[in-house]
Amino acid sequence: MYRFKHHRPTTIDEAQSIFAACDDPSYLSGGMTLIPTMKQRLASPTDLIDLSQVEGLTGITFHSGLVRIGAFTRHAVVANSAEVAKAIPALAYLAAQIGDNQVRNRGTLGGSVANSDPAADYPAAVVGLGATIVTSQRQIAGDTFFQDLFETALEPGELITAIEFPIPEKAVYRKFPNPASRYAVAGVMVARFPRGVRVGVTGAGPCAFRATALENALNQSFNPDALNAVEIPDAGFNSDLHASAEYRAHLVKVLAKRAVQALC
């Protein structure tokens, strides 16, 4: 790991001022991706701006029809929250599927979402539940947040402060984990809302996305067989030693059907 300067601001304003003043800064949340990346010298920020002491980035609150989770909230907190499990069981379940126990004790919601790792779990919930990303500057719709491999709508220095997840009537997350890393080879969140079904997919493409073809079929008939005729084109899907694009496209449909089965 190259040398860097470690900053520990206590307010969002201070964190952003430091970011603006540094040569090649990076925010540090749980560090579960950034630190291994730095150790491999795939990232070499001059300055790390540690968010652990920043006020107002933690906590889970419940408002009319939504669950608001502070960006620095660790996965284990979401996974073990009885209140989250009551409001959106699929979200608590998803958090409990991330990495392993030690990783969940460090990794954070905001860090995962800001990174837009194609195989991360939380992006499936952001897209599948139609969450709103609350940042230091604005609110960003979950549907437009993930743009490409490790690319999001965040501007340089912009900081996620919280994420608001609308509470669905029912939702289920199904994932095919890589047996070694526990990352999602593919993961699908199916959520039923009064105004329709949403399907969020992670692991399959360069970033999380809504599977509108699956949504349309489920809006017509909410049962697993309704998905039989739906084609999932694998163009642009990820292909690596773990799974081909074709295999991932197949997984998306299988996982979506399993999720729907669990919801019926």
Binding site: M1, Y2, R3, F4, K5, H6, R8, L28, G31, M32, I35, P36, K39, Q40, L48, D50, S52, A76, G99, D100, N101, Q102, V103, N105, R106, A180, S181, R182
Partner: protein, 156 residues
Amino acid sequence: MQITLTVNGTLRELDVPENTLLVDILRERLRLTGTHVGCDTSQCGACTVHLNGRAVKSCTVLAGQADGTSVLTIEGIGTPDVLHPMQAAFRECHALQCGFCTPCMIMAAIDLVENHKELDNKSVREGLEGNFCRCTGYHNIVRAVLSAAEKMAAKA
């Protein structure tokens, strides 16, 4: 950078480069070599310690993140004469072969027992997903954790 951390109950003040990892502070500076470096990529769990009461992989914690925290390592949980119930259970159940993963398997297992209720064969296996035993002696490790969980619950 100047950091202060409590390790196994003792307050330590250290001056370390900012790119120092917690595991290197423990092993190189404090000579607490029971915590191991296995993969160094936060996968194998051989570097597991407790940070403020929760199991973490110390190869993926920076000095600045450890500042102000309380760290518990394998050296801090028992003595040769009075083993921690988890250590005693590992010995009793033959839950180790080469022993490399053992210290951190024990630290991860204590976190499981203390922070996760109602453990059974399945949940112990899931809970130890972040710890690799390359001797593949998982069967007896799971037995040991369940045995220790009973004793720790009886003691509490």
